[in-house]
Amino acid sequence: MAKNDLLGGSLWDQYSDKVTTLMNNPKNQGEITEEEAAANGNKLIVADFGAESCGDAVRLYWEVNPENDLIVEAKFKSFGCGTAIASSDMMVELCRGKTVAEAVKITNIDVEVALRDTPDVPAVPPQKMHCSVMAYDVIKKAAGLYMGVDAESFEEEIIVCECARVSLGTLQEVIKLNDLKTVEEITDYTKAGGFCKSCIKPGGHEDREYYLVDILADVRREMDEEKMKAAADAGVGGDFKAMTMVQRIKAIDAVIDESVRQFLIMDGGNMEVIDVKDADPYIDIYIRYLGACNSCASSTTGTLYAIESTLKEKLSQDIRVLPI
């Protein structure tokens, strides 16, 4: 939020001239009939995407030459806002003259870029980017029908943000590499969640399979686990002072198990760690002797000194061991 965000609105002013022109006079709207396609020896494909009850619907017509899979003619019909109509029109324009296999590669971003007046200025405001996604989906649907395969088979990866076409894999990688902590940071790095915002969290314009908040939480959890595992692996050699309480106790136990406990057991005794407390600059480790150690004279002198110096050497020079 800042000065430029204070006055919202002006939605339509942010449309490019191309979007405005195509909304007012779509060039490629219309239908192709079975008869027309058959007369040319071509195959007609008609695919729907969206529904009136969703607020957006598009019907795409392809006349395809079965010899070379070339889309020789294309048309559309659309129930939708200006962006939906203009992007459907541009999508049809981009399909025409391509083979079905080539058309499948057209994305909503290609459509949006083609609608720009100047290369650097988006054709529509962020929240309308969503309306161009349908143009992409309906191509997949038509291609699937023509090839006799499922439309989803054209998706190589799981797309979390359809507006910016950001995949799950990319998001996980970017969060990890850049140590991202908030959804806003994810949007800054990847543009995901910067358009219709449906993919940020449940309850938006559309229901999604994956949400940025969940992906972020999962990756952060994974990162924490990895960090802890690394600390645990580093164990004795790690920075004792930087460890969490649980990590410290584990490290102390590891040192005691390795270098102390066996000697106590040999003498019929044992010990346990009761507590670890920061007593700046010291770290106090409270222990309790068990079995024979309780009555052993050296438990407060030689044995104690041996335990303390071992822990000091292996973990931190600031350790003090206090028997209770």
Binding site: G8, A51, F76, A84, H130, C196, H205
Partner: protein
């Protein structure tokens, strides 16, 4: 010609209102709290505005009408202070409202829920209104407040405020109504109905933006939202916005004086417009006409998406409104239309036209022509009216939202 048919969003300030406001900017600009003559120079005009407000809604002298910055402030004040007075410092924990209130009520209720208040959001029937018996069944002995709008901004439907008021009186529960869409459009008489609090906004009845009011029956307790000076008898601090208060009073008088004949005139135009638009096939309007504010119609046009329709109307220099998902900045479907629940499509094909006492017959004719032309053009593009059906397997799956 350009035609403004979005009077439920805001209205033109009546030139007569502007005229009475003007002296209070650069001529009589004193602070009414000052004791010198510069300060007191505005007192007669403020007193007149107060009288105009009391007369406009038939308030008793024992009641308070407190000027605020907006109905949003009035709603926030009432809700937040009820929370403080009745819940934090009382033994109540519950507020009853509806699913279709203005965001200034709904968002404040959500905020109060975050603070631990229980809030019941009542559903509306297929007419878009809450029924009185529904209200009754949700009031408990812990209910602090019932807050229900007088008329809907989206549909114009008028809620059974008198019946609900009686129920609240009987149950001993405070009753508030956001009457923003009712005051100045239909008769509002606070002595005819039992009502404790009522919010109003000047710019909905040809007054200026930035001034509203809260009616408080019998000057009853309600902690202030704005703390500071002693203005409005300590109920609402902030230097009195003299020109706007004067303007609101004048606008109130102009809107409510002889309201029946004004209503008839607007209703005649609205009904003519509605009848003409309903000549289009596959259209319907929401709510019984007789139970609507006389200036409002909400029409669903099959196969024409709301924002697309607004676009074409705008090209014809007509200002209208829609509840369509696509048209709002946040892309959310219209909650009022969804709450009506009759048809999901409506939330995307609804167009609201709201007239005013300044709307002319020529304007109505112009809108009829342009509206019909826009529907014709957009249905020509619409997939809903396409003839060639999808290749088997190419049908769309139903909406998952």
């Amino acid at each position: 010609m350009q035609v403004y048919m979005d009077n439920n969003a805001t209205t033109m300030v009546d030139p007569q209102v502007v005229e009475v406001m003007l002296p209070y900017f650069s001529e009589k600009y004193g602070n009414p709290n000052s004791i010198h003559k510069f300060g007191t120079a505005s007192h007669p005009a403020i007193a007149k505005a107060i009288d105009q407000m009391y007369t406009g809604i038939n308030a008793a002298d024992s009641d308070d009408i407190i000027f605020t910055s907006s109905a949003t402030e009035s709603n926030n004040w009432l809700l937040q202070s009820t929370w403080v007075d009745q819940i934090l410092n009382g033994d109540k924990n519950h507020i009853v409202t509806t699913e279709v209130e203005h965001p200034s009520v709904l968002s404040t209720c959500k905020f109060l829920e975050d603070q631990g208040v229980k809030v019941t959001y009542l559903p509306v029937n297929d007419q878009g209104i809450v029924e009185a018996h529904t209200v009754k069944s949700f009031i408990t002995d812990k209910t602090a407040l019932v807050s229900i709008m007088w008329a809907s901004n989206e549909t114009g439907m008028i809620f059974p405020i008198k019946e609900i008021g009686e129920i609240c009186k009987e149950k001993g529960v405070l009753f508030h109504s956001d009457a923003v869409q009712a005051v100045g459009k239909i008769p509002v008489d606070v002595q005819d109905v039992h009502i404790d609090f009522m919010s109003m906004s000047a710019h909905k009845f040809h007054g200026p933006k930035g001034v509203g009011a809260l009616y408080i029956k019998d000057s009853q307790k309600l902690s202030p939202l704005m703390h500071g000076g002693e203005q409005m008898n300590g109920r609402r601090s902030g230097t009195l916005n003299v020109p706007y208060i004067v303007g609101m009073g004048e606008a109130m008088e102009l809107a409510t004086k002889d309201i029946e004949s004004k209503m008839t005139a607007i209703r005649t135009k609205r009904d003519r417009l509605e009848d003409a638009l309903l000549e289009l096939s596959d259209t319907f309007t929401i709510g019984e006409r007789d139970n609507r504010t006389p200036n409002t119609l909400l029409i669903s046009i099959r196969g024409v998406e709301g924002e697309g329709m607004l676009w074409d109307l705008n090209n014809g220099l007509i200002g209208a409104s829609t509840g369509s998902a696509c048209a709002s900045e946040d892309l959310e479907a219209n909650s009022v239309m969804l709450a009506i629940g009759a048809d999901h499509e409506l939330a995307h094909t609804g167009i609201r036209l709201s007239l005013s006492r300044f709307t002319t017959d020529e304007e109505v004719d112009y809108v009829i022509d342009h509206f019909k032309a826009a529907v014709l053009r957009l249905r020509g593009i619409s997939s809903s009216y396409a003839k060639v059906q999808p290749t088997p397997g190419g049908e769309a799956t139903e909406c998952a939202i």
